[in-house]
């Protein structure tokens, strides 16, 4: 059934569940997740911390086999690494033994580019993310936000058809975040990649995406709401906030999220007042 439908969608998760551990200790992180990202669609996922957003991205990337349900990417069932996807990890994932330049260039070299060409293009990409003067630094010589931008360049330089991004702009200041968001939108506009984007910043989610998906708190987390963001494109992130509908979306999503967090953790956070 999903096979035909999958022929159309860039990413399609049907009835996906993921469990960790075994026996008594089993923990069911997500359950019954149905999520489709159409080709060229920009989908943002928001949800309470620990609900299973990274887990879903791992499933879509082929790094984590679902314990139930199916994942399809561009119509093919996922088994093993999904070659056409680029994944920006939530954790630090740069190779510590390579400079920023080498870390970015290797993504092209792997595809067969010559070392010279790869380095030239890597330089251009590092300039785009504002790190022109930091190209010869090793990761441990960079700040948190700088490392994230190197990782961003590493993913984008491969020009993948599908982008999986896990809090890519988290450790960036507000202004740089806008710049990076604009960069991402411009890229996306140009050739309409399918993007699955995890963020905690609701403004960012609304400003960037076509659709915001809200997840419930875990365990057995699933999708509780979807908001179609039909703001006009192309957008400038700085200006889109001025659109009156922006705030309507914001409060709608905020309401969903807040209710969910309070429902799930209300008692856990009980001891909160010291």
């Amino acid at each position: 059934m999903s096979a035909e439908a999958g022929g159309q969608a860039a990413i399609e998760l049907t009835g996906v569940a993921v469990s960790f551990g075994a026996g008594q200790q089993i923990y069911r992180a997500v359950a019954d997740v149905d999520l489709t990202v159409a080709p060229g669609e920009f989908v943002a996922i928001v949800g309470p911390t620990g609900c299973g957003k990274s887990t879903l991205l791992n499933v879509a990337a082929g790094l984590q086999a679902p314990s139930a349900g199916h994942a399809h990417v561009r119509g093919r069932a996922v088994s093993g690494i999904v070659a056409e996807a680029g994944y920006l990890f939530q954790a630090d994932a740069l190779m510590p033994w390579k400079t920023a330049l080498a870390n970015v260039a290797v993504a092209l070299e792997v595809k067969g580019a010559s070392k010279r060409e790869a380095e030239e293009r890597a330089l251009a990409w590092l300039a785009r993310v504002g790190l022109k003067t930091y190209v010869h630094r090793y990761p441990h010589q960079l700040s948190g936000g700088q490392k994230k931008r190197v990782a961003l360049a590493q993913v984008l330089i491969r020009d993948p058809a599908i982008l999986l991004m896990d809090e890519p702009f988290g450790p960036l200041d507000a202004q740089t975040r806008t710049l990076m968001g604009d960069l991402l939108l411009a890229l996306w506009q140009a050739d309409r990649k399918a993007v699955l984007f995890v963020t905690h910043d609701l403004d960012e989610a609304i400003a960037l995406s076509d659709r915001v998906v809200v997840m419930s708190a875990g365990p057995s987390s699933h999708i509780i709401a979807e908001h179609r963001i039909d703001l006009p494109r192309p957008r400038e992130i700085g200006d889109i906030r001025l659109d009156p509908r922006f705030h309507a979306f914001q409060s709608a999503i905020w309401r969903d999220l807040k209710a969910e967090v309070m429902r799930a953790y209300g008692d856990e956070f009980a001891g909160l007042k010291v």
């Binding site: 790094l63 690494i81 994944y87 510590p96 390579k98 400079t99 993504a107 595809k111 441990h140």
Partner: protein, 262 residues
């Protein structure tokens, strides 16, 4: 600590040890002087003998042979250890099946194997190289094997998402990540390669440092034995220093002591 101060310290330590040795072999501090002389000779005799080794030039031939054997044992042994270590780490099933056999092989006393090596490789350098290889191989192998398994899973996932195939993973991820494990084992193996070569020579040969030591030993010439061992030790420092040079080049990316801590 500056280079010169470090060197001063090292040399003073060496001198102090010589002095103690001289003292206990001259005055009956630690018991019978004659007995101590019989087993350890005296520093002056040993130094005179080393001087003669080099003055007469007889040592060069032996040194050269031992050097060749040690380097061959070291290179072949560590190369084999690295290749097989990497390969088995990537083939967990094969590794699981072979596991007990590898451990058994590691426990065979090399001294007993010497005749078999002589049968297979003859009395020339190759039987000594083989002996050294059996020591070096296992040390490097176990460390590389573990080193590959210690690769950070996030970095590995990222590399795989970047589209690396097995060969590229090896070159860009496993190899650099296992390097510090490897070099730790290489420092141990340098010594063991030399031990293998010398023991091989000791058990049957016509030249080499092991031969020199063995000859001295069977005529109860402890001065010769100790002089041989001293030359040998000086020698290993040289080889180890070469390993360190390579290491510093390959591990240039690591945080230095002065770098930030978080």
């Amino acid at each position: 600590m500056s280079r010169t101060r470090l060197l001063t310290w090292q040399i003073s330590l060496g001198l102090a040890m010589l002095l103690i040795w001289h003292a206990v072999s001259t005055w009956p501090i630690l018991g019978d002087v004659k007995q101590i002389k019989f087993f350890f000779s005296t520093p002056t005799d040993v130094i005179a003998r080393i001087w003669r080794f080099f003055a007469t030039g007889m040592i060069w031939k032996h040194l050269w042979i031992t050097l060749v054997e040690t380097l061959l044992a070291f290179c072949i042994g560590s190369l084999a250890g690295i290749v097989i270590g990497f390969w088995l780490a990537r083939q967990p099933r094969v590794a699981a099946v072979l596991d007990p056999y590898v451990k058994m092989a590691n426990a065979l006393p090399r001294v007993v194997l010497a005749p078999i090596f002589m049968l297979w490789f003859g009395l020339d350098i190759w039987s000594k190289v083989a002996l050294g290889v059996t020591l070096v191989f296992f040390i490097v192998f176990f460390n590389v094997y573990q080193g590959v398994k210690e690769v950070s899973p996030v970095i590995l996932s990222n590399a795989r998402m970047l589209g690396m195939n097995e060969r590229q993973l090896f070159r860009h991820v496993y190899w650099p990540s296992a390097l510090s494990w490897m070099f730790s084992s290489l420092h141990t193996s340098v010594g063991f390669a030399l031990v293998g070569a010398v023991v091989g020579e000791y058990l049957g040969s016509a030249a080499g440092l092991g031969y020199v030591i063995h000859e001295a030993e069977s005529t109860f010439d402890m001065t010769g034995v100790v002089a041989g061992m001293v030359v040998l030790s000086a020698f290993v420092i040289l080889i180890d220093w070469m390993v360190t040079l390579v290491e510093n080049r390959l591990l240039a990316w690591r945080p230095q002591a002065g770098d930030r801590t978080s």
